[in-house]
């Protein structure tokens, strides 16, 4: 077992809407990422996976607020640190972020190199510009980006190039953890491929030590990650290795989610495409009991009032359902038989 790069215990954060309502978008989430590993987070849109990404940074601004839990990066807890200390010593250097809409992530009126200067000077005001330029050029070269990009404005770059630039900027300070929130969803297939390839190489080239990869595109998830967490309504509903999560999900929601896509793996082709009917619950006042109960095919009466904990199911594996592993497997087997 490698060194734990990121450890999160019971992290809870909320949004306060303009009507002063609390929305708990991340609800007691715990996770671990080891050195050299990539953790994937899957779920429908609105399940809280993007909010989790924001919350993991440990740097909160309205309308997102921290309410509890702990974030430990490489053995050092950052919860409880002063926001300005987090900004100076953690952001970019320990943990970095690639936003969902990376197309607009760069200030449109600033050259790439000037933005990199801003980033580095924000952490160390004594750095000189020549050094920064050399560092940036070297990083860009290693990552396969033409150094001319540094002198350009974001508008002058194509979509794919812009996204790769954002990635290169994000890792320029060699963070230990990189959080990539749907980094390729807005791109065409070719650019998507290049971006993914670049992300996969980051660890080998030593720019980062571990990664959290968030996407709703499951094939991608399976390709990129080592472990997968499935989120539903702000909670983790299943945690497993990538292989198990995709081919042998336990939680009915994971099962539905994995069933709703076609994985280009032989042996999975026969799985029927089944979208999960219904929509995630409103997190302003989440339902008591299991949050998935409303949409679950195997729902029992007690699901609607029992507060379901995350049950351990072997090493690195857990799921949030009152039904036992065996009952669930039986149900799935039964269904498969009917379908066949």
């Amino acid at each position: 077992m490698g060194k734990v790069m990121l450890e999160v215990n019971d992290l809870t954060t909320k949004y306060i809407t303009r009507y002063n309502e609390d929305v708990y978008a991340v609800d007691h989430v715990s996770l671990q990422v080891e050195e050299g590993k990539t953790l994937g987070i899957a779920g429908e849109s609105g399940c809280g996976k993007s909010t989790l990404a924001l919350s993991l940074m440990g740097y909160y601004f309205p309308p997102l607020y921290y309410t509890g839990g702990e974030i430990i990066i490489d053995g050092r807890s950052i919860s409880g640190m002063k926001p300005d200390d987090v900004r100076r010593t953690i952001l970019g250097t320990e943990i970095a972020y690639i936003p969902q809409a990376a197309m607009n992530a760069l200030n449109p009126t600033r050259r790439v190199i000037n933005f990199i200067e801003d980033v580095i000077l924000a952490h160390d005001p004594t750095e000189n510009k020549k050094f920064i330029y050399e560092l940036a050029r070297a990083s860009f070269e290693t990552l396969g980006l033409p150094p001319e990009v540094l002198q350009k404005y974001p508008v002058e770059l194509s979509g794919g190039m812009k996204q790769r630039t954002v990635i290169a900027v994000s890792v320029i300070l060699r963070p230990k953890v990189l959080i990539a929130d749907e980094p390729s969803s807005a791109l065409d297939v070719t650019s998507q491929k290049m971006v993914i390839k670049m992300l996969k190489n980051l660890m080998e080239t030593g720019f980062i030590k571990s990664m959290i990869f968030i996407t709703h595109e499951l094939p991608l998830l399976y390709n990129v990650t080592d472990d997968i967490m499935v989120m539903y309504a702000g909670q983790i509903v299943e945690r497993a290795s990538a292989r198990e999560a995709v081919f042998d999900p336990l939680h009915p929601y994971s099962k539905g989610l994995m069933g709703s896509i076609i994985v280009p793996e032989s042996g999975l082709r026969d799985v029927k495409l089944t979208a999960i009917p219904g929509a995630p619950p409103n997190l302003k006042n989440p339902p008591a009991g299991c949050r998935f109960a409303e949409r679950c095919k195997y729902v029992r009466a007690e699901c609607r009032y029992t507060n379901v904990a995350l049950y351990d199911a072997g090493p690195g594996r857990a799921y949030r359902c009152i039904l036992s592993e065996k009952v669930l497997r039986d149900c799935y087997e039964h269904e498969r038989a009917i379908a066949a």
Binding site: F61, L91, A96, N104, A122
Partner: protein
């Protein structure tokens, strides 16, 4: 730089085109109306004037100036030629002064009043708007309703209120004119002091109006920018908040500059009416006396000058904008 040259040439081209259009409109609009005022003026000479040599002089002047016996397009070229030489003919209402004489003084009063006021109001309004967007607290809640109310006041309304409060009631400042009645324009300290005193209220009324409108625009632009993706990303890269506010302010300001370029004509128009309330010796007041004296040549010259002023201001802002917004160069060099 190549991109910028292209942008500049494009804007310069538009400047020339709109200038020509302004000349055409100024010439043809009055002549297309049912009661062609120029023809009516020339025909009606004897009625309005008491000075008989004046009547004769104007009659000859106008037949020559407008060439009313010639076809319309030929008249236009005569008109263009005259205008380019600065020859607008005699003023009807202030004969024997020429229109050029009447305007040469008042033009400067207007320029010196309006442009500093609009620029100052723009700068202050934008700063306030940005601050209001950034600190959503008390300032925003107090300042915004006031700005909204102010921006809904018509230009002359602001002028009247300032005049009533500070000149008529408190008697702190003079109510009308550009300098004390007993003075002759000169560069003496006394005169400049008096001019400055008279300058304050008209200046303030234009500034306040500009502040109101600009602050609201800037506030919503800044709020829009604050929610932009790059703000969050910059924060997560550890960039300081005041650096980010500089990004936001600059990016929100850019559309405000183009906004100013487009609104400058309306602002000048409103400020002209404010001038009238203070009987300020600028173009607005000249325009009013010209209209009440049915002084067609003067009206035509004033409207042309206002248009040219607006066009130049617009052009200047666009050129400046090209320097400030890097996206312009990038877009043009594609």
């Amino acid at each position: 730089m190549k991109g910028y040259r292209r942008y500049f040439l494009n804007k310069a081209g538009w400047f020339v085109i709109t200038l020509i259009a302004a000349f055409l409109l100024n010439f043809f609009l009055p002549r297309m109306m049912p009661g062609d005022p120029v023809a009516a003026i020339v025909a009606r000479q004897a009625q309005g004037m008491s000075n008989s040599t004046g009547v004769q002089a104007i009659y000859e002047q106008y037949t020559k100036l407008f060439g009313t016996d010639k076809p319309l397009f030929q008249q236009f070229f005569i008109y263009m030629g005259n205008v380019l030489r600065g020859d607008f003919g005699y003023s009807f209402s202030q004969y024997p002064r020429t229109v050029a004489e009447v305007l040469s003084a008042s033009l400067w009063w207007t320029v010196v009043l309006q442009f500093p006021a609009i620029i100052f109001g723009w700068v202050v309004g934008n700063s306030l708007g940005a601050i209001a967007a950034y600190r959503k607290g008390g300032l925003d809640k107090v300042a915004m309703p006031i700005s909204i109310l102010i921006s809904n006041l018509p230009a002359f309304g602001m002028a009247v209120i300032l005049l009533v409060v500070f000149a008529a009631t408190l008697k702190w400042l003079p109510a009308s004119g550009g300098y004390a009645f007993d003075m002759i324009p000169s560069l003496s300290v006394n005169f400049l002091g008096s001019a400055l005193l008279h300058y304050i209220l008209p200046f303030a009324s234009i500034v306040l109006l500009a502040i109101g409108g600009q602050a609201i625009g800037m506030r919503s632009m800044a709020i829009y920018e604050l929610n932009a993706d790059y703000v969050r990303y910059s924060r997560f890269m550890g960039i300081k908040d005041n650096q980010i506010s500089r990004y936001v302010f600059r990016n929100a300001m850019l559309p405000q500059i183009t906004g100013l370029a487009l609104a400058i004509g309306t602002m000048i128009g409103g400020a002209l009416v404010a001038e009238i309330i203070f009987s300020y010796p600028g173009l607005g007041t000249v325009l009013l006396t010209a209209i009440s004296g049915r002084d067609y040549p003067l009206i035509s010259a004033v409207t042309l000058i206002i248009t040219i002023m607006a066009l130049i201001a617009n052009f200047a802002i666009e050129i400046l904008y090209g320097f400030i917004d890097p996206r312009i160069k990038a877009a043009q060099s594609d």
